[in-house]
Amino acid sequence: MLGASLKRLWHKLGSPRWFFSLTTPWVTFFGWSAAALLLWGTIWGLAYAPADYQQGNSFRIMYVHVPAAMLAQSLYIGMGVAGFIGLVWRMKLTDVAISACLPLGMVITALALFSGSVWGRPTWGSWWEWDGRTVSTLVLFFLFVGIYALREAIAEAELRARASALIAMVGTVNIPIIKYSVEWWNTLHQPASFGLTQKPAMPSEMWLPLLVMVLGFYCFAGMIVLLRMRSEILQREMSARWVSDWISGRESS
């Protein structure tokens, strides 16, 4: 019974129209949640969390850097998973998801790099250090750019979707390998850099606002990705009846 309804749900998930109507309330939900969480987290993290005994107040950029870095990686892995689903179950919607995650992923990774550099300046004394985390984030940025360049080079939609899915999958499988190799190299060549997100070691007053920020970032990403996906669905299904109905419905309201 459950299996049959799950299967039906899975097939429905592939329908752009169903996805569109399902996600209509989600956009507002994610939007408001993101605004609330980010506001709360920023104020808490900037004003109320205790200062780090080593780094003073400059560590607070962590409240931007860590969520950005986590989100960036999640977005790429999300593309990889979407690619896998798209190739195995031939769902067109997965390519919409990939094209939605891509620009956001690039921007968020750039934000992570920038905020990491800002964090490093007072700590390292320089704007950039080649440590494990910065290199991993930089490589992630190049992974995004690679898929972007690939998509720009293929004109035909179906083939572009398949190629992106393939490369996103290969990249996703490589991410843990890349991270591990960079961490390993890092332990040999760099002194232990500032301890990042070792949650047990951080007092809860420090990592709770971080958690809030992380949730806020993810809600923000949810909103943006859904908005882009919905916009692309409308574009792709332009000639369908339900689209013109929806548009005229909006215009009259």
Binding site: V139, F142, V145, G146, A153, I154, V170, G171, V173, Y180
Partner: protein, 225 residues
Amino acid sequence: MIRVALVREWQVLLRAKGAVINPLAFLLLTTTLFVIAAPDAITSGTDGPAEVAPGILWTLVLLTQLLALDGMYRRDFDSGVLEQSLVSAQVPFVTVLIRIFMQWLSTGFIMAMLAPILGWILGLSTQALPATALALLLGTPALSLLGSVGASVTVGFNRGGVILALLVLPLFLPTLVFGADMVMAAQVGRSVMPQVYALSLISLVALALAPFAALAGLKISLEMQ
């Protein structure tokens, strides 16, 4: 079919030796250029050549591999040989595997054989040379395998070389890291076993995944034709 495919690859290799020799000449040339241009950098680190030479060697190996990858499928793609492989062969996967193997044999394997010369040019100590050769031997298969995936998807592009580099260099990074460190470890007398395991593991994972991905990529490229 395997025998016939290998025979053809060998015949092509003999008649287009430039495809093999040019990248290797590039490697030897750039390595030498480095030594000429920055001799102090090579020899004056606190660990001697250990500091810079392994990284330089491996970076140049990566760039040489990129050069060799670009044309990996192009001739067969343009001539229609590739589409015949996919249409007529009972198991097209095998032809792809053989192509990748030959690509490795004509680049990575030879680079591993050249390791003693390259190491000597860069001033590595004699004790490090066998480890350097082994590092290249274990690491270059991953480069050929992962590179072939990028090459398979970009073979139909006009200026695919840049996109190929963009797609493939991030995937090369782990091999670069462990390979360079293996050479460095051998130079200073550390154990190289961890790096041996790491390089072998990466190459094995690549072997398990890349041929399928490359075949999928080739099908996509053929459909673009």
